[in-house]
Structures are given as structure tokens and as C-alpha cells.
Amino acid sequence: MTTLAPAQPPSDDSAAGTAMVDIRRLEKRFGSAVALHPTDLVVRQGEFFSLLGPSGCGKTTLLRMIGGFEQPTSGDIVIAGESVVHLSPAKRRTNMVFQHLALFPHMSIRENIAFGLEMKRVPAATVRSKVDDALAMVRMESFADRPVEALSGGQKQRIAIARALVNEPAVLLLDEPLSALDLQLRIQMQSELRRIQRSTRSTFIFVTHDQEEAMTMSDRIAVLQAGHIVQMGTPRQIYHRPESRFVAEFIGHSNFLPGTVTGLGVGGEVRLEHRGVSYDAISHRPLSLGDEVSVALRYEAISVLPGTDTRGLPATLELATFAGPTIRLDLRLENDVSIKAETPASNEPPDLSPGARFRVDWAPTTALVVGE
């Protein structure tokens, strides 16, 4: 039996840097329902770490356990070397930016930001200067004495971040803080958050269900599915090396092509066949000849060539959809498998009528054999 050695993933997932949050076999059940299966996770000092996953996968539950708002069923949470599971939120060196911000409506902006420091009995003069610094950091100096309701959504957002960060938490927890904002503001706040995180060098744990947001902002991402972390790594690793069909589906847009293994190379190259059509892919896991597999292939990894070209596989156009910067082409291969491709609008083929003949090609390294 021919078995292929898996290609080694780049090893920056191992614990380089000091661990700021160390989560050990952490589990949460609500009655009989499991919100988080026993999970291990290390977030490093100064890292922008995202928890990414679809609704109900347990992101908020995990974040709230770190913040102390939810008691774990079992397992341990160590923050800056100290186990915190027995500590109340008030005693933890974490601060949270809540999804709906939870600014205190009866206080001015300055009072909101000062609240945490007051609770720690910081002298008034220090409070004042720290609040000023925090306001400057989120570029809201001129709003200090306004009431909360006199702010726009994005401004409230900044105040919520300032209110948390002014306490210089060891870890800042953010639960989908941008989800209520419109797209424009969201993109602006994303880079703002990133800037703040870089300048304060603090550790951020950021919950989102938006893969693009996680991608653009994070140093590392943990993808959650039904209470499990199914993959953890840098945005590039997650994008280029999805380890399961779920991750490939969740991150970006992928085709899933069926195939039987008919040939194996030493570097993980795989030759596949499906109803008379053969194509190349790559595998990072051991495979044997005759295995039935599924190959993830991103829409944008496919080059659409004229029907007269000799490279790639012949395909028939079924539908072309204009999407601004790109054109989405729904094609059908000769083995009756449908395949979608995304091509820059600047590269628009002249004939986009249904039935038009094309050829589709891709670099074998972009076609990834994925487990289910």
C-alpha cells in the first residue's frame, strides 16, 4: 500500500512567546447541553487572538468564562500565571467590551471611563489624567463631558473600548463589538482596534462570526464548531490550509470536488479521478490509492481560460454573475460536477452566454484534500 507522508504545516502554532491566557481542559455544560467541549487554548502576551465560528458554536460562552461571567463545568483558566476560575469578574485582570457596549446611561462619558479606576480607589488626579489619555487614544477628547446618548454608534464603541482599556487589563475581551455597526464604520473601527492593540501592546481576545473581520485583524484565529476548536493558526494558515471541510466552507468560498486517488507523489501531490475527469491536488494528510476524498478549491484560485486553450479542463458556462470587482462564473465540468470560479472583472471573457465553452485550470497546490 502506498502511503504518503503528510506535508508539514509551518510551525508557528507552537507556544512561542509567553502565555497570557492558558486554558486547560475547559468545559461548559448548560444542563445536558454542551456549550464548550473540553478545550485547551493558549493566548500569548500581546496577541490579537480571534475566536471565530458560526452562531451558537460557543464563542461567547468561552469568552464569558475567561471574564468570569460564567462558571466553567470543569477545567482551569490561568491568566498571567494565576488560576482565576474561583475569582469574581471584579477580581480578574480582564476587561470586557460587551456586544451591546453596556455604557452606563446615567453617567457622562468621562464618568463612564473613570468608573473602573474609581472602583480601584485610584487618586482623583491620576484618574483624570488616565481618562484623558484613554480619550485621546480613541480620539474622543472633545466628547468627555457629553452624556452617553449624545453619541453615535461608532463613538459609543470607542468609549466602551476606552472604558475597558483605561484599567490596563492583562487581557481585553471583545464580544462581537462591531457587529452592530454599518459596513463603512465597521471597517474603520477594525483598523482603529488594531492600531490601539498595537500601541498598547495588550492582549486582545476578539469574538466574531465574520471570517473576513477575523482574517484582517488577528495574529491568530481559533475556529470553533459546535463547542470544539476545530482549527487554530494564523489567518494565512487557516485560509490556505483549512484542515476540514467545515473550515474551508466557513472561510471564503470554496468548491468541493469529489475524487478517487489514482496517483500519489512524494511531496503530497495527488492525482484524482472522477467519472473520467482527472485533476491534480495536494494533501497534507496521509492517503492511500483508491481513497475517496473531497478537494477544497477556492473560487478565486481558478483561472478561467478560453475554450481554445490547451491547459486545464473543459467546462461549460451555466451562469455569469457580475459582482462589481469580480465576476462569478458557474461552470460545469465534463463529469457533470459544477464548479464556481471568481475572476477579476477586468478580465471579463467576451462571451458570457450560457453554454459558452471555457477551460478551467488551477495550481495543484491550491486544491486541498480536506477531511470531512
Binding site: G67, G68, F69, S88, P89, A90, T94, N95, M96, F98, Q99, H100, A102, L103, F104, P105, H106, M107, F115, G116, M119, K120, R163, A164, N167
Partner: protein, 284 residues
């Protein structure tokens, strides 16, 4: 030319599309009559009372024999009236504060989940459905057995507070139930716990509700009669005194006392609304 034609055709179109089953004019007369009667019975007595309180006549009633303020100025010498007014106000404040505090603590307790919660809720609200007369008799018997002293700040306070408290609970509970829990979590996150959290975050935010409830309780107490009458001791409240005056001999100053009572209620409500509005704007 065409504009004239267009405006000319509009009423025709309207009359064909909107056809009332009633003759519009007849229906409107009925409606107006109904509203008129409603207003007469709502405000008529008030106007009559007001007019009579200035009537220069030794018997209560019309005709109007001339304007006088003597029923009002004369009240200064009616010691029992002034005393009853003072009693009612003091008692009202005591009842309002007591029942509001009780209702507040209960409403706060009700945020937790515990077994038997629905049953306890029913028990708390039970006094609302007990008829006043029955409630009064029950208290009379019960307090009598206990040898409880009958008096303003003893038996009447108990009678009124037990009656008013469920109402206070009913107005406070939804406000506290609807309190945004994430505000408390945010405060905990920032280091506030226990009483500090309650005083700095929860209390200021629910304060308008508490004020409005207190005022509401005061007005309930201020004209509570049926329960109080069963457990009255030496001192009378305003409604009790008025009752005894009117059943013995209808003194001509009674309309003036009535207006005075209305004034107290009105002023309380206005203060209450003003406070609540201000608290909502700037609670600190």
C-alpha cells in the same frame, strides 16, 4: 382647463370609494353627545365642588349667593381637619416609603431563579383581589386577636401598607425585570460588587421608577378608606374624618376641604412627574 376638470372630478371619485354605512352627520351627533356626557360626568362634579367651595351660603348647595373665601380661611380654626390632613400626609409618606422599600427588595429578589417563584408571585399579589371590605374585616379580627394596638402608625399603617405594597410591586417589578443585566456585568467587570454596584449603577437607573412608584403609593394611601375604617384608633385620616363629618352633619366647609384634598393629590402628582422626568434626564 385640464386642471379645472381634474379638481372637478376628485369629489366624485371620493364619494364612490369611501361610502360610510352610516349617515356621517347622524353618527357624528351621537359621538359628540357621548363625549359631551362623558366630560360632564367626569368634570361636572369637580366644577360644582369648586364653585360651592366659594359659595357664601351656610348650606351646601346652589344657588350661588356670592363669592367668599371664608370656608378656606375658616379651616385654620378647624383643628381636627388640619390634624387629619397632617396625619394623612405623614401616614402617606410612611406607607409609600415602607411599601416601596418592601416591593423593591422583593422585585430585586425575584430576579433570581428559584423554585416556587410563580406561586410566591401569586401570594404577593393576592391582596389586590381581596375586596376592601373583606380585607378590613380580616384585619380587624386578626389584629384584635393579636392584641395589636389600633392607631395611625400601627394598625392603619399595616392595613394600608399591605394593600399598597402589591401595587408598588406591580409597577416596580417590570422595570427591574427589564433592567439590562449587561450593565451590571459591565460594572462587575470594572470592579464594582455588592452594595457599591447597587448604589452606583442599579439604583440611579431605576430611580425614576422608584420615585414614580412612591408617589403612586402616596396617592393610594392618601385616599384609602375602606380598610382603614375597620382598624381606626384615636386619630383619623382625612377620608375617615370627612366620612364622620358628612354622616353627622354636612358642614358647609366640606367643599373647601374637598378642593384642598384634590390640591394635595395634584401637587403630589406634579412633583412626582417632575422628579421622575428630572431623574430620567440627569440622575446624579
Amino acid at each position: 382647463m385640464s386642471a379645472v376638470a381634474a379638481t372637478g372630478s376628485a369629489p366624485v371619485a371620493r364619494s364612490t370609494f369611501i361610502r360610510s354605512p352610516f349617515r356621517a352627520s347622524g353618527w357624528q351627533v351621537v359621538l359628540r353627545g357621548y363625549i359631551g356626557l362623558f366630560l360632564v360626568f367626569l368634570y361636572g362634579p369637580l366644577v360644582v365642588l369648586f364653585v360651592l367651595s366659594f359659595n357664601d351660603s351656610d348650606t351646601i348647595g346652589l344657588p350661588f349667593r356670592g363669592f367668599t373665601l371664608r370656608w378656606y380661611t375658616g379651616l385654620v380654626h378647624q383643628r381636627d381637619i388640619l390634624l387629619a390632613l397632617g396625619n394623612s400626609i405623614l401616614l402617606g409618606v410612611a406607607v409609600a416609603v415602607l411599601s416601596c422599600l418592601l416591593a423593591l427588595t422583593m422585585a430585586l429578589g425575584f430576579r433570581a431563579t428559584f423554585s416556587g417563584k410563580p406561586l410566591l408571585l401569586q401570594i404577593i399579589l393576592l391582596p389586590v383581589i381581596i375586596p376592601g371590605v373583606v380585607g378590613g374585616i380580616m384585619l380587624l379580627i386578626f389584629l384584635g386577636y393579636l392584641g395589636f394596638p389600633f392607631g395611625l402608625f400601627t394598625s392603619i399603617l399595616v392595613a394600608q401598607a399591605t394593600y399598597v405594597m402589591p401595587f408598588a410591586f406591580l409597577t416596580l417589578y417590570p422595570r427591574i425585570q427589564g433592567f439590562d443585566k449587561s450593565l451590571e456585568e459591565a460594572a462587575q467587570d470594572l470592579g464594582a460588587e455588592g452594595l457599591v454596584l447597587f448604589r452606583r449603577i442599579v439604583l440611579p437607573i431605576i430611580m425614576p421608577g422608584i420615585l414614580a412608584t412612591t408617589i403612586f403609593c402616596f396617592t393610594l394611601s392618601f385616599d384609602e378608606f375602606i380598610r382603614s375604617v375597620f382598624v381606626v384608633g384615636q386619630d383619623a385620616t382625612m377620608p375617615l374624618l370627612l366620612w364622620s363629618v358628612i354622616t353627622q352633619n354636612a358642614e358647609p366647609y366640606i367643599p373647601a376641604v374637598g378642593v384642598l384634598n384634590i390640591a394635595v393629590s395634584a401637587v403630589t402628582s406634579i412633583i412626582g412627574f417632575a422628579l421622575a422626568a428630572r431623574a430620567a434626564r440627569q440622575p446624579r
